[in-house]
Symmetry: C2
Subunit: 463 residues, 2 copies
């Protein structure tokens, strides 16, 4: 009654036939296959990643600088201690603080169509509207180029950026990256054109009524305008209404505020290497989240991946040659200070970070790893693919990185990234739908298992 | 602003370098790449599969022989006509009829623990309990072997089959196949041991309170016992309670009934081949479902895949050389009569079914195709993998089939199967959770796109 075990030899032989002879000998000698099997069975049997994520999400959303973010730091520090990790400590990082406030109102008012409520939310970092709101006509555009061409019509208007994410991309992150400039720089472009506020179509597919927040930026060269996201449904209503009544008015009111910076922390814990303790394999994710939803996929899932990977490595008695370190970074969403401060810290003296693997694409089915560092590194990781493939990892490709770990690249660290399937990610991303119920226990656990196996290979074999 | 198009040549060249020269020439000449791109863009832009599934599930569950199944036949027939498919017709099949009835009650009664309700449902095909229910002590077993060894303790008892699906299998269908005999043959084994009813742990992972139904069978060699599924949570409660009070009593009451057979229909429609109209490429799924939930994943999703694949082929003006036929089978869940009657029908005279591709594993992210027919066939389909890989199809492996299309194997049809990722499937399978809300529009559409592209390759190239 154990068919998977029976199937292994055939499958492994088939895969190994494609590898260079040296790699074959090495994999068989050190019995990584048995290790991967042990990690996988233990993980799927216990589903610990989901239990941990459940405790983390119960704190509520973990906006950088918030009391909940501080609670999450303490929860994860205690968790690392309870799991018996070594060198558990906090590393300070001073983070910006922004609070949404109680008031978020949007509506369109038309003499032809009546009054229609619009579902909006302030974008992260935005100033508030004046206390009695902004009320103005609307100019709809799909791009900054279009706005510049229409700039004579922009003065005094709310600039409505309505370019949808392109649904024809199978990789949804590609669609996101093509549309995200509207959110990040929309307020700057709107100000340059003489607008009074920026209203941005939420970065999501389909039609739903949840506005998606996210970071926006100001420029010293332009006045600061209030900037808000509108749900995709709201954007569709507004766009249709403008066709029927170009003279309609939109009313926006928000009460968000930027407060003084505070000290927060990256949370660090590790399994010390037995032979080369100063060579570090870093598994990373970010502990802060946006303030809508519970930050379950973004990036509670990544934190659960990191902690569960370390737990599995510890429980399977691997005693890695190199140190495997988990770092839960603060402030990925709001400035990336945690990642920069970690890389710059005095504590890094005498440490050599060989590789850093980030998980920041949600807790969905893991399908691949992006691997930086060039051809030779990619070939080495490719030689491990048979082991990862049995865990559901379909591909290893060039690429990899992530906001938190990217400051390590300067000192020669190879950056990698775990890539889950992306179809559902932008349903939850930065909105009220990013909750535990949107995470599947087995999909989440498979991500942790893949991180653990890659982490152990990196720790034993180097890169 | 169209990076995917820009990326194509590099990607395609890289993939094509791995193919034999003949295949390379052929793929380039007929420009299948452009075709796949067109199908994919159209599908993802319009998301028609989900809109269709939404209309289908609004009918309610489609238990074989039920009025809802008849409504679904008519909906799909009209749909095929409205889409301009050819040779749209119904093929009769006489199906069994079983109705759940109004009463489903379960509880455990213990002098130590009190009375605890248990969430149960009758299994498909079961007789009802007597009108005042069955009330008896419980024997818990994990296997038929264990039951046989304990047969002296079984007499007069409710036999509680409590072997969980093994969560350590990454392929959840493997776990299902190892546990399913309890549901199918539990009542027979319970009767042989002298039991009075069979109570089966639902075939699902984790702990939830939804009982999962499914087909059970009787044997002429054993008396017929009422047979019911208990939710995994109920099974855990009952198992724990038995440890504390082995003398506890379980009370079961069901009112299901088997009625006389009725005539139902397979729904057929096609795009006629321009060169070899009698050579058929069949895309199949089943239209009937269980009576809990909405049959959204099982197998409404498959029906949406089939219809949407035909719609996409029609809209992209492929004019296939061979006929591409969609068949929505009746009665997969309750006996497979639709599949057998289709294969045996007089209408098959003069037709040659080259290949049949079934979708009956839900509407989740498509990841692979199982391909029967031996090495040469598999190599041919493998040579198409670069085209399918761009659509997210990670693998082509030996295997494939499905209840509906398997009777075609006798006449030499190559059987294939689309395989979506399986992690979430058994959350919904045969229970009240199999609803439209559990289906993701993009995941569903990607399945239809993959079916359309494979179907067009089979229609143009044969097998």
């Amino acid at each position: 009654m154990n068919p998977p075990r029976r199937l292994v030899p055939f499958f492994l032989l088939f895969q190994l036939a494609l590898l260079p002879a040296g790699t074959l000998a090495q994999l068989v000698n050190t019995d990584y296959h048995a290790l991967a099997e042990k990690i996988s069975r233990k993980g799927l049997m216990e589903n610990y990643a989901y239990a941990l994520l459940s405790r983390l999400t119960r704190i509520g959303p973990r906006l950088t600088g918030s009391p909940q973010a501080a609670a999450a730091v303490e929860l994860m520090r205690q968790e690392m201690l309870d799991l018996g990790l070594e060198n558990v400590h906090l590393e300070p990082t001073v983070v910006g603080r922004w609070v949404r406030g109680e008031v978020e109102e949007g509506r369109l008012v038309s003499s032809l169509l009546g009054t229609i409520p619009l579902s909006i939310c302030a974008l992260g970092g935005s100033i508030a509207t004046p206390e009695d709101g902004v009320q103005a006509g609307v100019l709809e555009v799909k791009s900054f180029q279009e706005l510049q061409a229409l700039s004579d019509k922009a003065r005094g208007k709310i600039i409505f950026f309505n370019r949808p994410m392109d649904p024809t991309h199978i990789d949804t992150f590609q669609a996101y990256s093509e549309a995200a400039e509207q959110r990040v720089l929309g307020a700057v472009e709107a100000a340059k054109a003489g607008g009074v506020a920026a209203l941005i179509r939420s970065l999501a597919f389909g039609e739903s009524d949840f506005p998606h927040t996210g970071l926006m930026k100001y420029s010293p060269d332009a006045v600061q305008l209030p900037s808000a996201a509108i749900s995709t449904r709201g954007a569709n209503i507004l766009s249709r209404s403008l066709k029927n009544d170009p003279e309609l008015i939109v009313y926006l009111r928000t009460s968000c505020v930027t407060l003084s910076p505070v000290t927060s922390y990256n949370v660090v814990g590790e399994i010390k290497g037995t032979e080369k303790p100063d060579e570090i394999i870093l598994l990373g994710a970010h502990l802060d989240s946006w303030d809508l939803g519970e930050g379950a996929h973004d990036d509670g899932a990544g934190c659960a991946h990191v902690i569960e990977a370390l737990r599995l490595l510890k429980l399977t008695d691997i005693h890695p040659k190199r140190t495997v370190r988990g770092v839960l970074y603060m402030d990925e969403e709001f400035g990336g200070t945690g990642g920069r401060d970690y890389a710059r810290s005095e504590r890094r003296k005498g440490e050599r970070h060989l590789a850093a693997v980030e998980s920041d694409r949600g807790g969905f089915l893991p399908v691949g790893f992006g691997v930086g560092g060039g051809d030779a590194v990619e070939r080495k990781v490719q030689s491990w693919h048979p082991l990862l493939q049995r865990l559901g990892i379909y591909w290893i490709k060039p690429g990899g990185g992530g906001v938190d770990i990217s400051p390590l690249a300067e000192s020669g660290t190879v950056l990698m990234e775990m890539v889950p399937d992306s179809q559902r990610y932008f349903d939850a991303h930065h909105c009220s739908q990013d909750v535990l119920a949107a995470v599947h226990p087995r999909e989440l656990e498979l991500g942790a298992i893949a991180m653990a196996v890659l982490g152990s290979l990196l720790a034993q074999e180097g890169i």
